[in-house]
Each structure stands twice: as structure tokens, then as C-alpha cells.
Amino acid sequence: MEQKIKHHLTDEILMAYAAGTLPEAFNLMVATHISLCDECRSRLYAFEAVGGEMLDQTPSNVVAMDNGSLAATMALIAGGAQDEVTPVRAEGSILPGPLQDYVGGDVGDISWRSVGMGVKQAILPTSSDASARLLYIPAGAAMPDHGHHGTEMTMVLQGAFQDEDDYFARGDVEVANSDLHHTPVADIHEDCICLAVTDAPLRFKGLVPKIAQRFARI
């Protein structure tokens, strides 16, 4: 049994996921979290139900279909369902299914790049309106102190980290906004692997990380 998740997705994020208005990197965060969290999955279903009711009962949104539309649809149906590729996913991986799809394999297939002090990252391919990356932080090590322009969400996949306020273990999501400057530290017992998504470039305090940032395409 997974340890109980204590830090969940916000209503705003779940609602936007249900509506299909999030950048791809944030969709990846939500899909990954609900793969581990039945509570947020259930909340997501409620937000999707709101979308269903809005679809059903908003008369101003009804736009007549073209003539012959039903016949054209029956022809589409007769043409058969489109083949869908079911992704092959490893069971019992620390990477939930959606992340395996983006990594193109399991933990061993992640192409880590060092960003200094033992910290490594791997940027995942998503649309450019936001970015997603995996972070590897050695046990007991601190992340460089950084603030945020936009919204950053960080979810623990392995190990744990703590910042000034709280403790985050597997499945927990930390949401940081522009007013927060924090210094997360990985728990001493195990190297920490996280998924982090942000809709703005991170800014690191101090010169060296800034240059590193440019090279590392953070």
C-alpha cells in the first residue's frame, strides 16, 4: 500500500485539466499524480461531471450540424475504429505510466544531465508554453535556492524532500508561486527523484547557477 498522500492538486488545476486548458507539462503533472492518488482522481471526475452538465445544458453553445452530417458520421463508423497504440508500461516502476511514456522507458532510460552539486535533471519533451523535467537530488543535498516567476509544481517520485514549511513524500505535490523563495532539501535516507513543471523559467540567486541555467535550458 502506498503511503498516504498528504499534499494534493488544487481545485484550479483539476478544473483546468478537466476543461482541457492546461499546458502539456501541467497535464503531465496531473496525469502522473492521479495515477497515484485516488482522491484527486475522484475530484477530477467531479470536475469532468461539471463539464458534462455544462455541455448538456448551455443552450447558447448549441450549433447546428451540417446537412448530411449523420450520414457522414455513419460512414466514418463503417470505416472502423482508428487503431490506437496502447503504450507498453513497466509494472512496479517508480515512474507512473504517463511518465514512462514521456521518458520512453523506465528509470534506467532517463537521460540525466548534471546541473552541479550532484543534482541532475532531465527535461521532458512537452509543448513550449510550460516545461517539465525530472530532478535527481542526492540524499541530504539541497536544491539551489530559487524563486519563481510563475507557478511551479513539484511531485516526489522517490525519496522525500522538505522545505521550510513541510515534508513531501512519494505522490505529494508542492505548489510554489512567485512570492515563495524556498530551499528544498532531500531527505537523508534516499536520493530523491521528482517531477517538476513550471510555466516560467526558474531564476536562481547568484551568478554561477544563472549561467548554468542558460546552459542547462532550465
Partner: protein
């Protein structure tokens, strides 16, 4: 499908979207959920009998709504027409995956339309969450189906009764492909007002679902 393999798959079932426990609604709720139960039976006729009359009725009701949703999301009329047809064809092809103990037909169609919107209009890759491992071979209980469809009816009522200013923002959040900041820019309302109105609307929906 891996039916019959030696390792039994653990079937998890998430609690329903409205929390645990069936709704003990007033008697009129049964009538309100009738329309939704009828759509469920349409889906079963499509699944079991490839019933094109049931499909025609489903199409007549939902296709124009899906088309409207796509136009509000930024598609032009001809793309919206094409994608709405695809969405309705998907309803036929995936009828066996529809789970009426988990969603109303309207909700299920909404999620299909939303997914196509992301694929075609936003042209983004769409991360697929792990599913819970329930299969079409497990037919849900009639009582669970009734309970869920009644809850959907109750939610529909609660949305209809929202104050107009709140309802309008919920509508913009779902139809218009807008983030909260984009809604702020479009309406001229401060972002804080938008967030608090949406929060109030959700509080009210939650209260009415108790």
C-alpha cells in the same frame, strides 16, 4: 487483454465523483435522472445491438453541443463539424468502455470532445493517466448506475441555480479554452475576483451535493 493470466489484477475502484454513499434525494430526483438513464440505455443499445436509431438520437442531441464547444474553443465551423463527427463516431466505437456507474453520458462525451480538442486544436501530446484496471467484463450494479445518474442530475440542478455571475465564469472556464488569467483579460475583472467567484461557485455546488 490479459484475461486468464495467472496473476490476478487488483481492481481498484475510486470513490464516485461526488464522494462515498448513494444519494438519498427526494422522489422527484428519479424523474430528473430519467433523461440521463435514457441516454445510458441508448449507449447500451449502441453497444449491444449496434442500434443506429439510438445513435441517431444521441447524435441529434449531443453533436450540436460538441460542435458548439469546439467553436467556443477556437475551431472554425468546418473544423468543428469534422471533429464533432469524429467525436460521435468515437462514442459508437468505444461504447463498450462507457461506465454509467462512473459518469453520465454527457460527461463521457464531454471528456471525448475535450481530448479531441487537445489533440486537434491545441495540437499537444496528451498524457494518459493509468487506468484503474476495471474492465468491460464487470457490469456495474444497477443501483450504482442509478445513484451516479441521480447525482449528475442533482449537479445539473445545482449548476442551473448558480448566481449568473458565478455560472458565467464556470462556463468561461470550460468553454473558451481560457486560463483564469485569460478570463481576467477578456472580462476586465481582476484575477482575484475571478478566482474567488469560481471558488464560491464550487463551494455552492459542494453544499448542494450534500
Amino acid at each position: 487483454m490479459n484475461v486468464g493470466l495467472e496473476t490476478p489484477k487488483v481492481v481498484r475502484r475510486a470513490p464516485g465523483p461526488f464522494g462515498a454513499g448513494a444519494v438519498k434525494g427526494p422522489a422527484h430526483m428519479n424523474e430528473l435522472s430519467d433523461a440521463r438513464m435514457q441516454w445510458v440505455s441508448h449507449m447500451h443499445r449502441i453497444r449491444d445491438d449496434q442500434d443506429s436509431r439510438a445513435f441517431a438520437q444521441l447524435f441529434e442531441h449531443f453533436a450540436p453541443r460538441v460542435k458548439g464547444f469546439l467553436i467556443k474553443s477556437g475551431a472554425d465551423a468546418s473544423l468543428a463539424e469534422e471533429v464533432a463527427q469524429e467525436v460521435m463516431a468515437t462514442c459508437w466505437h468505444k461504447a463498450h468502455l462507457f461506465d454509467p456507474a462512473r459518469a453520465s453520458v454527457a460527461t463521457w462525451i464531454f471528456t471525448i470532445a475535450r481530448n479531441r480538442k487537445i489533440d486537434v486544436l491545441r495540437k499537444q501530446r496528451r498524457p494518459e493517466p493509468e487506468d484503474l484496471g476495471w474492465g468491460p467484463e464487470e457490469e456495474p450494479d444497477q443501483a450504482d448506475i442509478m445513484a451516479l445518474q441521480q447525482e449528475a442530475a442533482q449537479l445539473g440542478d445545482a449548476i442551473a441555480e448558480l448566481p449568473p455571475a458565478q455560472r458565467e465564469l464556470i462556463e468561461k472556464a470550460y468553454f473558451g479554452d481560457l486560463s483564469h488569467s485569460e478570463i481576467a483579460a477578456q472580462t476586465g475583472l481582476p484575477l482575484g475576483t475571478i478566482k474567488s467567484r469560481i471558488r464560491l461557485a464550487l463551494d455552492r455546488l459542494r453544499h448542494n451535493m450534500k
